[in-house]
Symmetry: C2
Subunit: 301 residues, 2 copies
């Protein structure tokens, strides 16, 4: 038994197009409808042949769906939902993949006051964007967080079963806790990566050419996540302000302590931290959340 028979994906970037491919691969009998507000993206998805139908309006796309999965930037969720509100079947479940959950829940509830809403967030991705960047195995072994708040349990179970079919593990928590946890494991790391790449490219006494040449010293690692979709990430920060600022404040305090340790030559503080952080890496690899090969498996000729 499949949890859904007619799935509509709205927003056809990396995540949306990966869901299309994942459903096609893992649930081949499901009827897949796809919509994107950008006609060029719709056309590309038709060319890629990863959906059964790609109508020209959001309303037409949801008309007989039993699951509508919103995969647009978090700041666009409300408008994307409004665009199909009038055509949404009463028993359809609406879910999403947004990286900030409190604000999305609010936007979806306002746009679809009577809908069955089960917000979600697959913690997966790459630095590439657009319908060509997606792939069916993106969610394999990754965690999907559902923040159903007061959604009916049967609806939550179906969304859970959907993600399990795509190869994911599921966790349920409140939207507020999600936003704090993701501020730590995703949002602040992205902000710092963007910031460090910006700082490095703005220096007067080190050229951009030098930064690029010697990036293998560690800097290049930060450039990967700093190459992620700008619209998506702008929206995440604007929609998870409180938690991001809270964690950023904590990080700033900890960086200040390290700064002080360096200034005063306190090697023990540095050494103790650097030893502790190794253990976290080991746990991440043991739990299958990163590649165990050195250097992420980068090629060395």
């Amino acid at each position: 038994m499949l949890p859904f028979a007619r799935i509509t994906v709205i927003g056809l970037g990396l995540i949306g197009s990966s869901i299309l491919r994942g459903v096609r691969h893992h649930m081949p009998t499901v009827r897949l409808t796809a919509f994107d507000a950008d006609p060029a993206v719709r056309e590309r998805v038709v060319e890629l042949g990863i959906a059964d139908d790609v109508p020209d309006t959001a309303g037409a796309a949801v008309i007989d769906a039993d699951l509508v999965m919103l995969c647009v930037p978090v700041g666009a969720m409300g408008a994307a939902a409004e665009a199909f509100a009038a055509d949404l079947p009463a028993d359809a479940i609406v879910s999403d993949v947004g990286g900030a959950k409190l604000s999305v829940l609010e936007a979806l509830r306002a746009a679809l006051p009577n809908a069955l809403i089960v917000p979600g967030h697959p913690v997966a991705g790459t630095e590439h964007s657009g319908p060509d960047a997606g792939f069916a195995t993106l969610f394999h072994g990754r965690w999907v967080i559902l923040t159903p708040e007061d959604a009916p349990e049967a609806a939550v179970e179906r969304v859970k079963a959907f993600w399990e079919k795509l190869g994911s593990n599921i966790e349920i928590m409140t939207a507020r806790h999600h936003d704090l946890v993701l501020a730590v494991t995703s949002h602040v790391p992205h902000l710092i990566a963007y910031s460090i790449v910006g700082t490095a490219s703005d220096l007067e006494n080190v050229t951009q050419g030098e930064v690029i040449k010697y990036s293998a010293g560690g800097f290049r690692d930060f450039t990967r996540i700093a190459a992620s979709d700008p619209t998506m990430w702008r929206d995440v920060f604007l929609n998870n302000k409180e938690a991001v600022l809270e964690i950023l404040q904590r990080l700033t305090e900890d960086v200040t302590a390290l700064q002080r340790a360096i200034r005063w030559g306190d090697g023990d503080t540095l050494f103790n931290l650097f030893t502790r952080t190794r253990a976290i890496r080991r746990s991440i690899i043991e739990q299958g959340q990163d590649d165990e090969r050195p250097d992420f498996g980068r090629t060395h000729e």
Copy 2:
């Protein structure tokens, strides 16, 4: 013509053992001598068979060398050099791979006042440590920075030819400039990575289990370089204090500006930065300094 015929490597971790393997592969006729202050490491190198000779003292290791390559943590360079100072042939060239160059130059000059010293730094590595972690291709396509200051040109040319044989590109600059450039491209990124991993594991309202589970949101990228050798990195920060603190100060200012943009909902500032940083990633890939495959080439089943 090979630049050196009898090479001694002192310090047999990731870099030292990669040099042994690289020389064996690219210059198979060179006689390779290896030494490490730790008897267990020497024993392991004997087992690995990656050197012709592994004597029990630093003095015995350099006695007929024409190149002595120091691959110990930067804080141990002075003591490592003193240990063989009395046995160093007058015409041998001493070089090193330390990540901070002003302090190493000073330490080597003090320990070996009459030696031909050509300091260097291969900008290459992985998060793994020890003699088993090394591999012959580690330096392929990477940049090696030489900071010869007033070393004779003939000596510099030979060290340059040595690294070219190992597959590297060479740049020459002052030790001071090196230390600033590497603070940007390596030292501060490592410090921030260590710091963010430390912060994430110390929160009261987010568990370490959660941090690990949802690390694929970006956090896990930071854990790789935060798994690097603690001794090596403690020494780098203690020996490149001035430049690290200068760049850290700049980064702090830039993070503060982003923090302000988030607080006041200034999406344009965020979007503009996030667009700029994408271009740097593209240049790094175009110049062969990172893997062009998405997600660094990580496996997705």
